[in-house]
Symmetry: D2
Subunit: 386 residues, 4 copies
Amino acid sequence: MKKINIGMVGYKFMGKAHSNAYRAVPMFFPDAAKPEMKVICGRDPKGLEQARAQFGWESSVTDWRELVQRDDVDVVDINAPSDAHKEIAIAAARAGKHLFCEKPLALTLADSREMLEEAEKAGVKHMVGFNYRFAPAVQLAKKLISEGRIGEIHHFRGVFLQDWILDPSFPLVWRLQKEIAGSGSHGDLGAHVIDMARFLVGEFREVIGMSETFVKRRPVAAAMTGLSAKGGGSEEMGDVTVDDATAFLARFENGAMGTIEATRFAAGHRCTNGFEINGSKGSIKFDFERMNELQVYFTDDAEDVQGFRRVLATDASHAYMDAWWPAGHTIGYEHTFTHEVLELMRALEEDRQPVPNFVDGVKCQEVLEAVDRSIEERRWVAISEL
Amino acid sequence: MKKINIGMVGYKFMGKAHSNAYRAVPMFFPDAAKPEMKVICGRDPKGLEQARAQFGWESSVTDWRELVQRDDVDVVDINAPSDAHKEIAIAAARAGKHLFCEKPLALTLADSREMLEEAEKAGVKHMVGFNYRFAPAVQLAKKLISEGRIGEIHHFRGVFLQDWILDPSFPLVWRLQKEIAGSGSHGDLGAHVIDMARFLVGEFREVIGMSETFVKRRPVAAAMTGLSAKGGGSEEMGDVTVDDATAFLARFENGAMGTIEATRFAAGHRCTNGFEINGSKGSIKFDFERMNELQVYFTDDAEDVQGFRRVLATDASHAYMDAWWPAGHTIGYEHTFTHEVLELMRALEEDRQPVPNFVDGVKCQEVLEAVDRSIEERRWVAISEL
Amino acid sequence: MKKINIGMVGYKFMGKAHSNAYRAVPMFFPDAAKPEMKVICGRDPKGLEQARAQFGWESSVTDWRELVQRDDVDVVDINAPSDAHKEIAIAAARAGKHLFCEKPLALTLADSREMLEEAEKAGVKHMVGFNYRFAPAVQLAKKLISEGRIGEIHHFRGVFLQDWILDPSFPLVWRLQKEIAGSGSHGDLGAHVIDMARFLVGEFREVIGMSETFVKRRPVAAAMTGLSAKGGGSEEMGDVTVDDATAFLARFENGAMGTIEATRFAAGHRCTNGFEINGSKGSIKFDFERMNELQVYFTDDAEDVQGFRRVLATDASHAYMDAWWPAGHTIGYEHTFTHEVLELMRALEEDRQPVPNFVDGVKCQEVLEAVDRSIEERRWVAISEL
Amino acid sequence: MKKINIGMVGYKFMGKAHSNAYRAVPMFFPDAAKPEMKVICGRDPKGLEQARAQFGWESSVTDWRELVQRDDVDVVDINAPSDAHKEIAIAAARAGKHLFCEKPLALTLADSREMLEEAEKAGVKHMVGFNYRFAPAVQLAKKLISEGRIGEIHHFRGVFLQDWILDPSFPLVWRLQKEIAGSGSHGDLGAHVIDMARFLVGEFREVIGMSETFVKRRPVAAAMTGLSAKGGGSEEMGDVTVDDATAFLARFENGAMGTIEATRFAAGHRCTNGFEINGSKGSIKFDFERMNELQVYFTDDAEDVQGFRRVLATDASHAYMDAWWPAGHTIGYEHTFTHEVLELMRALEEDRQPVPNFVDGVKCQEVLEAVDRSIEERRWVAISEL
């Protein structure tokens, strides 16, 4: 069986999720190429060593430049904060390494495009971490649409609702700082909705948006990690430089209408990555908080029993599920990463580009940036303008 | 168009619901025979006159004996407290009046049987008020079962959960006194579940139950009306002489298994008259708190989209709904009575027995009493024993 | 008790809903002024007489000019097709009649304003039929917001989703013709969402929208009534001249962000008039298909039991519900009209303007037209521009 | 950090679930003692080796007698078919090994008691695999009850509904044969409900049940594994010797009433391990198909916003969840085993009995057997009789 050596940069929230996926693939998908957890990279030696031991990596380095040059690394997995993606990815590509990069690819569209270009020039494989595609219920949505069972799509209604920064005393973590995160809810959450829309509906034609930062100053965080801030806020206050919420209207190439909204101020929503699609022959609804379920409606159901079906996408007939547990025995968030890594392994084995890859990362960034421009210039912006 | 004269005994909760139904039938089902609201009867002249004017009855009397003898009365509607049903029904039948009696028919099975016998002897039509049959979603359940779309029934799981007497300081209203109410949650709520089971699954073969009175003494109510007690509780305490909750196992004639439970101590449930039926080809779920919805599952749905459908039974194809509003525009509790009165009108027009009638009332009482006996004697009791 | 004489113009879907409300108010709210159903008006004598008899009106006329002049009419209820509203309303106002007009007030903002002006000049009372405000669950939403229990509002997410014209063979009824209906889903459904937003969130500041007509030609309807078309479609085809769907972004005066969408192409949705409001202290969700329920979330719930509560707004503590049935015994669509008429009766008794009135009608129309202009000119339009 | 050596007997469905848990504990709960996956045991060398490699065990043996004697084994994990539990457990206990045994402990109560006795005599730790206790939502239910927030319990309504053998052509797998499985839905699924009831409500006092085998003969399975049958059914038919469904009434020691039902014939239910508990101060609902959610109702919520809350038990404040992902990022079925193994690790570290242990296994079996006897003798059976 083929083995593929992984070097990973980043060891916080995403580093943990990716590590778990590398461990899970060989156990649940033993026929796939096996990821070997060769080396993990981070700047803080103590935290790094703890992560290495806990997550099960063979070795660690504190300089990513060293990692991307190692002979025993086939794939460089980049899940460091967003502002570091570009430099690492390009160096890795130039070193001939395959790339597995968390979203967003980079802080700007220009940077994303450069990353794609370099990857293509180097002839390496590249993947971007839109993990939500890999929920079996989402895969089912894709299948139904691809097979024409929902018909022609009229509407896409997508939201990503969270509430973790609703409290004004929540500190100024890196995700709220433009120079590191690039964007707020729009780039963090909206990016997932945009990718979902592209995956299921098709390409965007034009957009117009609005955004807001409801809480404009927050306590400076003493120490920041993942989604939370250790040590609470200090008395010092700093400016929030990203959006708390962004919403936009969209027109798709195929004529479908879209409304998309991302916010971290939706009280009561912890992780509502949700969408509804209405087609000429049926509809589909999804909410990640119930990630194993897909609501499906067909217009051609018998007249007296028409209604949304709650499909529990855990049957052996659903994507990936024959590898897990019997029907009705649900899976969770982390499994989306396992399936994502599985796609990476299979693509490398089959010598093809994984999907989604940097092309998808760039196209997502185009939409993100078109929305930003539409907000700034208060007008519809065509994706083709970018 | 045929007109049918109604005389009604009772003017509280049920009197109001019935009156509303008499008013609604001519407006929403103009092709049916028209109920004429001739005379209403109650013991308290002041309350009676208020009800007469408010509900729209032509006249009133304080003595039901007078009412049952009036020439301008075709149907006697009996919704006085349960202990009065028998005497009124028999007198009315002997006077040649058709009978429309609230459930339970009487305090005992023997009394119920006598009522049925007298009605049959008099050759009058008779109906019993199992109104929940008349929710369009329940009618849909009946249709699906009758057409074999759920297959052979394996399981019936029925509950009627309320919580209105959960608070121990709630007063000792008449519904908590055996000499007036006959029974507690069992006869009041369980009766509806039993009727639903008979309607949808078939006849009961044998039962075994248990029951409990969780709060054994309560403040004596100053004045009682409908489901509530005016004037709150006094300091005087009295014994609760009926069950707070009764549950039982059942075996149906067709081999299906049943679990049935009625309680007024299910915190958070205001009116969960619910059931689930599992058959060899599908399943059905219903909860009266969402009375316009039926959940339906079919085993022969395509493999990848199997799941309970939430059918909103408000389409024109659903029972009664073409008489109401466009699809999706829901109806409420009171409409079950309108449909019930419609059945009464149609049956009288067509010179046939309405359904459900006193036979159903007696059969329900048989099951109620079999359960009571099974509790007393701590053994399975066959319905045929009674 | 005060009696108020009603003359009603229109006898189809809305005429039926209003008639039912006039009949219900005296029965369920006997302390309110009593509407007397004096005269009903329509153009087709045969259909009119049938409606008169069925709905219970004392008399009928085929010319609304006659109706508005009658001495025995205090209130003119206008629910004829939208293109007739203005002329009737102004004539009625000039005749000193109070006005109760279905939404939208008129086909254009200018016309609406003229109607308001005339009503004010005549010193009559005026009401507009935004019936969804009167669902008890919506009243509860209003109460929670007014009492500050949801905090400062950040987001409004409103939709009105239907699917009754999804089938391309559905005929070209009057609601699909601009000259009669004025607008499609936007004016018909979107108007309700806009009113809901104004009721709960506050005034709109600026909007930008998009719209679409997915099915551009349809069979000409042989005869049209209410929401459906009798006689099916003919072979002749005609142009659909209104929008099938309209969506827009909104900024409210108080800074809240809004996304609003109305469509008749949302397969599986019969009547999803739904909204979600996110505030700094909690959230609220509503879907008219479950009109008795309100989902409520509070940020100050104990840490381990935070979650959306499904409040069944049928307790005696909820608006209007002590007049109906015991807790848990639901009401339906028609009850929103009963409560609306109740507000009209109470306002007339108390000699005050009912709410919502023509001011609300005009303000709704301002938003509708701002959206239309934003679509035409592809730019943000401030309400203050109109 | 302490390391604990595991030897595991069984490598099918449960073997996979346990193996995954051993791998997950060190990664997600690095402070706990670390399970070392020393040796796995099975009868078929080929399948065993595949499992060993796939699951990550150091070595394998085909004879459990060898495994229980190995010096490098601290804990013997027994998840072979139920008929093998007793012999292995007793041998392991006598060899001084701690025991981790899947439910049911044994085929009979007598055997279970012997196992407990031997374990106690040997002074080893013992745990039984009631994994559903370890869902964070169930832990929350336990916490709410323990803290008195639901008050005194009146009702327990528990079901375990599946549908995997509804099709009569599904083959005669070992779980349908009494000599291997001991029991059908009752022992397999009902056992989980009984344990849940004991965990949350308390001890059972008396029970009465009924059961049914709806499909009495099935095709003999060519090869059997886990929950499914490889190779489909042959033409040969064999007798189903266990129950397809069992339901029973229960009275708890504390006076609460219970209804419990387990079936494999509930069409549409893949894994509805669900319960509802009604107390004097609130209610709790759970359905394993939505395992991250707990529905909670409190009677002391403000009057106008009473309703079941849907608590997503994924906040850091919920049991185990700070070790996983941010709030709203759900976990799945397998995580119950991870938490179960965590309890085992902690108990061994702290030199205490894990919970649930063989005492719970025996008490569960007492109830199972009391129900069996009540069915056979058609009478209430007190647990104390056994």
